[in-house]
């Protein structure tokens, strides 16, 4: 059984309530941090822990915190990114829904470290019922002296507010989130200036993911060095993985980043194998934006090593032969699924979510969707496959924010690994309407094909 740091108590009855959470040892990290540590010491512990941003990019959290500017007399803000919208990802929702006080606890400690007296949780608008859960937890925390003025008599003041978005994937990008928090359209800003210098209302701002901020609690309780002992290499601590698609046991799992992908998919402790006795065809291991991997490259790296569920191993082989840990949205496709249709739905998603600010993304995502739709519905031409490649290439790296890359990568990987499936659609325009391509050579564990 893997070590659990975040979800260990998630199923204690009534853990959503303050009294139960406190009885189970909750809010100890606030006592420890505020009474025994200086703010910079908290940041140092987070640095030592090796914690990396859990939203997708994997940037070291302690380093991000140390960048925050501290001009005299200017308030600073911590903003929690709860705009979880990456297809395949539903871990933050789970954490906030089942153990909301863990997030509030992490936010208080992190606010203390950063000197944020007013902290916001930016939550996606669709999670409307979670807003109620969080606001209740905040009220309880405040009534018990963990929020408000002069917390624990230390002189530190902190308020937390929930800010509800209104349906825009792009607001998960930190500068778009800041724009949205200011009551504007979610158009990402050009960096620099970085939010750590000029963020919300031009004040120094740190934006961190829900899971990242919750992880600060065990880091303070255990100490950064102890936390860093869990995991392998630069993948320290535990990670929440939200597993979905064609598996027996979809859900949110906390792993310690030492288990193999094979174990994660097939063991009963996690996904419980492929649903309905079918075979594994492919998987997107880190949310829809990261490259899809065929079964052969998923379970073993191109070098033939066992692939592990962590940052380094999942990206082993680069984009040609690997993928990314991303947000931990683990999407599994069985042998009956159509890669063309799946890629089409993702392209439609990115077209819908492009903010329209940069032409390569605004126009390119529309092209990707249209071309993929044509191929999926038997109206494709052979030249369309190269056109897809060309369009995605011209989006990648040419936009203000990473949404362009996120739209390009899934298409690139699908064409790279499943080109024969695209060709089959084009050569069999009638048959492709009535059945799927199924497995092909890419399910063969021995063969490794890349563009």
């Amino acid at each position: 059984m893997a070590k659990k740091l975040l979800l260990e108590k998630a199923h204690v009855e009534n853990i959503r309530l303050y009294d139960v959470y406190r009885r189970e040892g909750g809010y100890r990290s606030v006592e420890k941090a505020l009474k025994e540590m200086a703010p910079d010491q908290v940041t140092d512990e987070v640095k030592k822990s090796g914690l990396r941003g859990r939203g997708g990019a994997g940037f070291p959290t302690g380093m991000k915190w140390s960048f925050i500017a501290k001009p005299e007399g200017v308030p600073r803000h911590l903003v929690c990114n709860a705009d979880e919208s990456e297809p395949g990802t539903f871990k933050d929702r789970y954490l906030m829904e089942f153990i909301p006080h863990l997030l509030i606890e992490g936010l208080i400690v992190s606010s203390y470290a950063l000197g944020s007296n007013t902290t916001y949780i930016y939550i996606r608008g669709e999670y409307a019922w979670i807003v109620d859960i969080l606001e209740r937890a905040i009220t309880e925390a405040k009534n018990n002296g963990w929020l408000g003025k002069n917390i624990l008599g230390t002189g530190f003041d902190c308020e937390i507010y929930v800010h509800r978005g209104a349906g825009a994937y792009i607001c998960g990008e930190e500068t778009a989130l800041i724009e949205s928090l200011e009551g504007k359209r979610g158009n990402p800003r050009i960096k620099p200036p970085f939010p750590a210098v000029k963020g919300v209302w031009d004040r120094p701002t740190v934006v961190n993911n829900v899971e990242t901020l919750a992880a600060v609690v065990p880091i303070i309780n255990l100490g950064g060095e102890e936390y860093a002992k869990i995991g392998i290499g630069k993948s320290t601590g535990t990670k929440l993985i939200s597993a979905c698609g064609n598996i027996n046991k979809p859900g949110v799992y906390e792993i310690d980043m030492t288990i193999s992908v094979e174990e994660f998919i097939f063991s009963n402790e996690y996904c419980g194998g492929i649903a309905n006795g079918k075979r594994l065809k492919a998987c997107i291991p880190g949310g829809s934006s990261v490259p899809i991997l065929p079964a052969n490259l998923l379970l073993k790296t191109a070098k033939g090593e066992t692939r592990i569920m962590n940052y380094e191993s999942l990206s082993d082989g680069g984009f040609a032969k690997g993928s990314m840990m991303g947000s931990g949205g683990f999407i599994v496709l069985d042998e009956d699924q159509c890669v063309v249709r799946h890629t089409y739905t993702l392209a439609r998603f990115y077209r819908h979510e492009s903010c329209g600010q940069c032409s390569p993304c605004r126009e390119g995502t529309g092209w990707l969707e249209k071309i993929l739709k044509n191929i999926e519905y038997g109206k494709g031409k052979m030249s369309d496959i190269d056109l897809l490649w060309h369009v995605q290439k011209n989006i990648e790296g040419n936009t203000i924010c990473p949404l362009g890359d996120a739209a390009a990568w899934p298409v690139a990987a699908a064409v790279r690994h499943f080109r024969d499936e695209f060709e089959w659609h084009i050569n069999n325009p009638v048959e492709c309407l009535s059945r799927n391509y199924g497995l092909a050579h890419y399910s063969d564990p021995l063969q490794v094909t890349t563009a």
């Binding site: 308030p75 979880e84 919208s85 990456e86 297809p87 395949g88 990802t89 539903f90 929702r93 007013t118 916001y120 996606r124 608008g125 669709e126 999670y127 409307a128 019922w129 507010y161 800010h163 509800r164 978005g165 209104a166 349906g167 825009a168 994937y169 949205s180 928090l181 200011e182 009551g183 504007k184 359209r185 979610g186 209302w201 939200s242 597993a243 979905c244 698609g245 064609n246 979809p250 859900g251 949110v252 997107i284 829809s288 949205g329 999407i331 496709l333 699924q337 249709r341 799946h342 739905t345 993702l346 439609r348 998603f349 819908h352 979510e353 903010c355």
Partner: protein, 167 residues
Amino acid sequence: MSIPFSEEKLKKFSEIVSRYPEGKQKSALLPVLHLAQEEFGHWLSTDTMDYVASLLKIEPIEVYEVATFYSMYNLKPIGKYMFEVCQTGPCMLCGSDNIIDYIKQKLGINVGETTPDGLFTLKTTECLGACGYAPMMQLGKIYKEHLTKQKVDAIIEECRQTAALNN
């Protein structure tokens, strides 16, 4: 359902504005638009948006540009119950296409349409963050997950009964 906000909603409005620094009341725009949508018939008319602009002391265009950007603001009237069915990758893998087709057939409407009795609107959405509980849809403030045809039948029936009771 007519402008302005009730006394109670105005209190809520002031509480929302107080979460943001002095002079940064525009930051309250998204939550206030949610409040307005709840209060004024689940959609935002131009009059409603102009009213919100006057409350926040910003230009109407600042409200329009936001209301048209975010997918949760309805710019046209909708049915009493809006089925927002997710159709993105993970839901598709678990059969959302069949669910959407079934709802279309059952209600006799296409995506984006409202039934003639004004009860149901069908909308497809992109990922709602419930991929492990697919297929799913949003109905008002809650999620309906692990959808099957039988479940859809039961949801429609429940909506009809609730509507009949309230009439």
